[in-house]
Each structure stands twice: as structure tokens, then as C-alpha cells.
Subunit: 473 residues, 2 copies
């Protein structure tokens, strides 16, 4: 029997949290860190540090045991030494605490006899007592709308994304990364060894969560492949599922064993999984974020024809190559479009067509709007990529006027049905370029217009976006 | 007969430059921009703006024609309307000016009958008079050690790189990008339509230039494929040649015609070219820069075994996958190494091995040094990748102490024969993260230690580095 959705909901909206194993010594990572972060992020419910020797920790009244608490907490975070975790779980059962996040590590991921046995004991205690457990060896649940952002991305920002991950570091980085670009996370869970609740349980739960419109997963392994396949197939029709699969190589797969004590599974089985479900398969943190930006914010694309708007002949050539390599098309524009475009684009130093190469798009917002309008009206164009230039010492006077608010307003009003994204190249070691470029990128992203630091990353994200909608829209 | 090296040298160290076609109106791109930039970058030689109607432009005495100059300039930059370029070249011939950079565009790249004819006339005038021409339709020569940095990357920085490019924008971006990461450019040339001097002429020249240790090329086409093959084969043995090939896709190839009026050539011929020469084939600006960093700064790699040092289990798994995907190996460490490592790495929350996952490497420089020493001594390790973490709101207290100077000193002293690179992930929209990450990356790069913003980019660059040396070292 699988955990039911209402059972899991409590993990993400606890009104009270006990933290079992909080030392008075500041600094070391553990229960104390969670207490500190929950206080910092303004968690509204009751917090109960459990420490048999302390009366108060970080200004919060401490309790000697779970049984001494004035209420039954909605959630317990277990952060004691591995060998005492089974005992802590027995305490939870006695105190009537059913929702438990085991932060502690030292179980199957250690590949030691002791660690494996301890994990078996955890499973047995929990099954016997009907306890629901996230972990062990993980960062647990995250839900900004409940002020449950104990891993520190402050302010947490709610939004359309659900995250299910076998890696705490990846979950933390992803939530922070998305948040910095204006895409909020409704719920996330770092599930570690997933000794009891597995990715499929969280997937089913997030599939039913109306606030979640897209699910991002970092998976190293899965216990019930058939169930994952069935769920991904069903949920994927409604919500894009974007999966970063860890352990694809032999070495990666070996590392998986050390990381979460699980088996990564055969590469060809995963390939079949992606083929059969239409889940989006990404291969790095950046590709993960890039695809989430596109699939959470853009309208469905009706075709794979991209209109490339920018400047610099060599750039245009390389950009076309990149799009084609990613499975997109850079179509010839229609006769009517070309006729109007030739009137607008000088013969020398520019190239009318697709890609469009004319520096004036960087400087003159009215001109850029007229150009974009041509693309939006051309039936051969399904998506638009607009390059934005940061003024550089190496270039001559271009990019002085981004007129970003004006362009944002225009694209948001006009793009209907033709996903429009931006590229801003600010890589390198020039602080001014980096700061301006990052700011412009974030400004566009936060306005709901996905913006990428390179055409390569933009094209990959658009290709994922197009293929998802070609299959399910 | 090919242009001889001493003939080309004068392009890069002119003691006097005439700029034919400088308007008094500021702002518009053209000869005036070059005059402005040459003044800005402190060009030491004489500058002669040519304008029949002006006495002075930008504070510099102007002349009515080339023949009115007090000396024969070493270089003429031609920036007049396309149809008057042949006449300007006749003037050059009469005045004894042999080295000419045609900035003007409006020739074969326009695909018009007029443009094609004009380019033919240019070729004919130049051949008849023995003129050496860079261009037309290009940004021309660049040489920081001669203060010839007219496209504005101020201060230009000299170094081991030579750049040959059919795109001005790509050349400008590359030189600025490298310079911002502490890798200087000895000479660069943006050659545009290459109506007379072709990539092979510049390649031969830079092959003989003792100051140039690595040659970066952006090529859309080549006139004499056989000569390019022969030169690349010979020069490539001594100096890595890193080529970004534009026009690999059909659409890209069409854009090439509009950009520089040339034919991109068949993809399979280029594939054979790369196979036969061992030239490094890159596919984006970032990959170009990333490979140049590695191949210009790192010692030769003796094998493809990488030791990955970092933290975050999921990261470690994904990093292994990425390295393997790029053709690198992430070998098991030797028994002796593992024995020592197990004493240093805690069992819970960390993973001893390769990849090594232990957060302490971020905080404790002495510890990191001991870890690196293990890798340097292990015969199975040929290269090392060290992840550096920027303190993030989402993480708990790691990365507080980068101790960068200490680590830099250690790696530079110790890495002998085992190329060591760094990764710093600072992507996203958080200004503080970006600014610290970019600064740390630039600091490491400028110290001669290639540093990349993602493991994916690092692994690709290392793979290029390894393969080059496997073939030629």
C-alpha cells in the first residue's frame, strides 16, 4: 500500500516540529543548523529542540524527550548518531509522532555491515509502527508557503515547481538557483536513501498537488521501476517531469552506491523509460534549470522553427549551427516577411533573413518591436530567440539602450503562442559585464521571459520545450 | 606565391596609419571609430585621417588625400563607400602604401551583382599593384604590443594566443573574453571576405611567430583546402590549433554566404580535416575559450584519468557521469591512496574515493592540500578537478574560507605533469553569488589555473587538452 497524498501533505505544512538531537555547540552541521534556519526564516509553528541536558538552545525552550512535549509535534527531525536512530524512532512511535525526517547519515550509503543493518532496523521499526519517513541521510522537506525553508534559501519563494531529489546538495542548489531567477518552488523533498518513502510516493503526491505545474526530479535509483513508469506516464501528460538522472556512467553508478546506498540501474532501461514516458531527460544542473525555466513559463510551441534575432555575422552562423544541432529548425522566412524585412535592414553590414543580423536591434527598441512583429506574423516561425547585448569595451556603441521594460511589455503582450526567449552573454572575468549581464538576465527571467547566458543553453531548453509539447499538447 | 611572413608582420606593427574615410560626424561606425579607439588606446605611431573637406578630426590634423601625407603610412584602413573602394586602392598604390585593411562592406557578402563585381575589381587592382589586403568587410588586425587595439578592448593584453577569424564580432568577443581571464592575445586578425589574404596566409604567418604558442581560428570557409590541411598538420604539432567552424549545418552554411560571401564546404570534408590534422574542433564561443584556457596554460596530460575533488553526493555522481560522457576516466584510486584517504574522510556524510565527496575540502585549505597530494602521488591519476564553492544562502557554512592564494601557490608548485583545474559554479540571478564566483574564477584563471563555471565545461576542455597531448606530446 502506498502512502496516500493526505499522509504526505503534513510533511510540508507542519504546525509544530521537534528536532531530536540539537547540541548547544554552534557551528557543527546537524539539528542545531535546522533550528537556526527555521528561526531565521520565521517559521510560524512551534519548535521543540530535544536535548536531555539543555534547558534552552538558541533562545528556544528545550525538552528532555519527545514525551515531555506539551503537544504531539506534526514533524520530527531526527539528527542523532546513526546507531541511536532506531531508538529515536521508537520514541516517535510512543509519542504518536508519525511524520519523521531522518537527517542523520551512516546507514546503507556507508556500505558497511553496521550501516546496512541499521537501515534494516529503521525500516522494521517504521513498518511495525506505521511511521512515515523521509530519508535517512537527507535534507528532508521544503515548502516556502509554510515557512519550511530550513536549508537556508531565504527568502524562500513559492511557485509552480515541485522537486523530488535523491541529493540534498542538488535540491538546495536547484531551489536557490530557480528562486534567484524568479521561479518559485512550491514543495521540494530531499529523500536521501529513501529507505521507506520512495520517489514514486513523492511523485504521486506532487502529481495530485494542484499548485505544482512542473516536477523536477534528481534520481539515482528507483525501487519500483514499474510504478515509476506508470506514474510518470500519467502525470507527465498534465505536468512536465524533468529528470536529471545520476549514475548514468559506470563510475557514476558506483558513486551512487556510496551516496545513497542504491543501485543506479541499467542505462538502457532508463533510456526506455524516457522514451515511454516523455519525461524530459537532462544531464546537468544548468540544463535542468534551463528546461524548468522554459517549461514552466512559456506557452506551448506549435513547431520547431526558430527565428533568431541578433547581430554579428559570425554569431549568426554559429547560432544557426547550434539550433540545428539541438533538433530545432531555422526556417527561411516567408516571402511577405522578407519583403518587409529587406526594407528595414541595410544591405551592407547586416543580413536580412533568418538568422537576422542587424546591430540596430540592440539599440533601437521600436525597431526591435517591428522586427519581432514580423516574426510573430510569419507562419513559418514558431519560436523566437532574441539576443541582448551588454555594452562591451570590445564593441562599438551597441547595446547602449536595452529599453528592457518596454521590450518585456511588448513580448508579453504579443508572443501568444510563439514562445520568445532571450540570450545575454556575460561569461568571463569582467566584473562590470558580469554584473550588468546577470542583472539583465534576472530582470527578464523575473518578468517571466526565460533568458539564457548562451545560445547553446537556450537552444537545448527550447528543444526540450518543443518536444514536450509536440508529444502532449 | 603566398604572402611571406615578413610581409604580413607590418600589418601588426605599423608605425603610421592612414584612415581613408573619416567623417566629422561622431557616432556612426566607421573610420572615425577606428581613429577614436586608436587614440584611446594610446597608439604610439602617426595617425592620418583622410577627408577632402576637413582640416582636423578629433583633434588630429586631417589630410585631403594619401598623396598629401608627409610620409608613406605603414597601413591604410579603408572605410569609404563600397563603390569607391577600388579608387581608394588605386590611390594606395600610387602613394606606395602596400598594407591595406578594408573595413568597408558591401561586396560579395551582399550576393548582389554589384557587390560581386566590386570585389572582383578589388582583387584585380590589388593583384596588379602587389597590394596586401585584409578584408574587405572586416575589423582587421589587432596587436596589443603595438597598441593596435582599435576595436576597443582596453587595455589590450598580450600573451600566447594568435587569433584568425572570419568574423569581427567573434574576434572582438574572444579577445575581450580571454583578456578578462588573464590570457593575452599576441595577434588577431578579423579577415572578413578574405578576398586576397586568406586564413592559410595568416596561419602560416602565425605558425612562424615565436610569441604565439596557440592558434584560435573561426572559419566559415577556406579557398585552398589542401594548403590549410598541410599547414594545420605541420603547425599543429608545435602549437595547438583550436577551430570554431561556422556553417556546419545547412542553415548555417547559407548564412555563411550572406556573412562573408563564401561557401562553408561539406561537413564530411571538415570532419576528415579535423581527423587528419588533430586540430581541436569546438562548437561554441564558450567551448573555444575553455579549450584555449586549458591548452595555453596547463602542462601536458599523460592520461585521461581524472581525480574529482568536491562535496555533495549528487554532485559527485553527476560529475562522474559528465566526465565519462566527455571521454575522460574517473579511475579507482590505488590501494595505498585509499588507505590514507579513509583515515582522513569520515564514513558518514562523506564518500572517500574518486570522486571524493567531503565538504571539508571547501573550508580547510590544509586538508585540501593533503587530499591533492594524495592525487598527485597516485599513478592512476593524470588530471585533477577541484570544485570550489561560493558561500550560498542555501548551504550551511561551507566555503567560508577559500584561502585562494594558498591553494594557488600549492597547486602551481605541486601539479607538475598533472594538470589541475577548478570549477566555480555561480550561475543564476543572485548578484552576490555571481560577483563572488566570477571574482574567484578570474583570480584563479589569472594565476594561470584554468577555472570553469561548470563541470560540463571543465570536462569538455580537459578532454580536448588530453586528446591533443595524447596525439602530439
Amino acid at each position: 500500500m502506498h502512502a496516500r497524498s493526505k499522509d504526505l501533505a503534513q510533511f510540508f505544512s507542519p504546525r509544530s516540529i521537534a528536532i531530536i538531537g540539537v547540541t548547544r555547540k554552534p557551528g557543527a552541521f546537524g539539528g542545531g543548523t535546522f533550528l537556526e534556519k527555521l528561526l531565521e526564516c520565521g517559521f510560524q509553528g512551534n519548535l521543540y529542540p530535544i536535548n536531555p541536558k539543555a534547558h534552552e538552545i538558541q533562545g528556544v525552550k528545550a525538552y528532555s524527550s519527545l514525551l515531555a512535549l506539551p503537544e504531539t509535534p506534526d514533524l520530527a527531525i531526527v539528527s542523532v548518531a546513526a546507531h541511536t536512530v532506531p531508538e529515536a524512532l521508537e520514541d516517535c512511535a510512543r509519542a504518536g509522532v508519525r511524520h519523521i525526517h531522518i537527517l542523520a547519515s551512516g546507514f546503507s550509503e556507508t556500505r558497511t555491515k553496521e550501516g546496512l543493518e541499521l537501515e534494516e532496523r529503521i525500516v522494521s521499526v517504521c513498518e511495525r509502527n506505521g511511521l512515515l519517513v523521509i530519508g535517512p541521510n537527507c535534507m528532508g522537506p521544503y515548502c516556502p508557503s509554510s515557512s519550511l525553508t530550513a536549508w537556508g534559501a531565504i527568502p524562500g519563494m513559492t511557485g509552480p515547481v515541485g522537486v523530488i531529489s535523491q541529493s540534498g546538495a542538488m535540491t538546495q542548489r536547484l531551489t536557490e538557483y530557480l528562486c534567484s531567477l524568479g521561479v518559485g518552488v512550491e514543495k521540494a523533498v530531499s529523500m536521501g536513501n529513501a529507505a521507506l518513502l520512495d520517489s514514486t510516493d513523492y511523485l504521486e503526491f506532487m502529481g495530485e498537488d494542484q499548485k505544482i505545474r512542473l516536477i523536477a526530479m534528481y534520481l539515482e535509483s528507483v525501487k519500483d521501476g514499474r510504478r515509476l513508469l506508470g506514474l510518470a506516464r500519467e502525470i507527465g501528460k498534465e505536468k512536465p517531469i524533468i529528470i536529471l538522472k545520476g549514475g548514468e556512467s559506470e563510475v557514476g553508478a558506483k558513486t551512487v552506491i556510496s551516496h545513497t546506498g542504491s543501485l543506479a540501474g541499467e542505462q538502457r532501461l532508463w533510456e526506455a523509460f524516457f522514451r515511454q514516458t516523455g519525461a524530459v531527460h537532462v544531464r546537468s544542473m544548468n540544463e535542468w534549470v534551463d528546461s524548468i525555466l522554459a517549461l514552466s513559463q512559456l506557452p506551448a510551441a506549435k513547431g520547431n522553427g526558430v527565428f533568431l534575432v541578433g547581430g554579428g555575422g559570425g554569431n549568426s552562423v554559429a547560432s544557426s549551427d547550434t539550433c540545428i544541432r539541438e533538433g530545432l529548425d531555422v526556417p527561411l522566412l516567408s516571402g511577405a516577411t522578407m519583403e518587409k524585412m529587406r526594407e528595414m535592414v541595410p544591405v551592407a553590414g547586416s543580413i536580412a533573413g533568418n538568422p537576422l543580423d542587424t546591430w540596430r536591434t540592440y539599440d533601437d527598441p521600436e525597431y526591435l518591436k517591428r522586427i519581432l512583429e514580423l516574426g510573430y506574423k510569419d507562419p513559418r516561425v514558431s519560436m523566437v530567440v532574441v539576443d541582448r547585448l551588454i555594452p562591451r569595451a570590445a564593441f562599438h556603441g551597441s547595446g547602449r539602450n536595452h529599453a528592457t521594460p518596454e521590450i518585456i511589455e511588448f513580448v508579453k503582450a504579443r508572443q501568444q503562442g510563439k514562445p520568445t526567449i532571450f540570450t545575454v552573454d556575460y561569461d568571463g572575468g569582467d566584473p562590470d559585464l558580469t554584473s550588468r549581464g546577470m542583472t539583465l538576465r534576472a530582470e527578464l527571467c523575473r518578468a517571466g521571459l526565460p533568458t539564457y547566458p548562451s545560445l547553446g543553453r537556450a537552444a537545448r531548453a527550447l528543444a526540450h520545450h518543443y518536444r514536450y509539447h509536440a508529444r502532449f499538447s
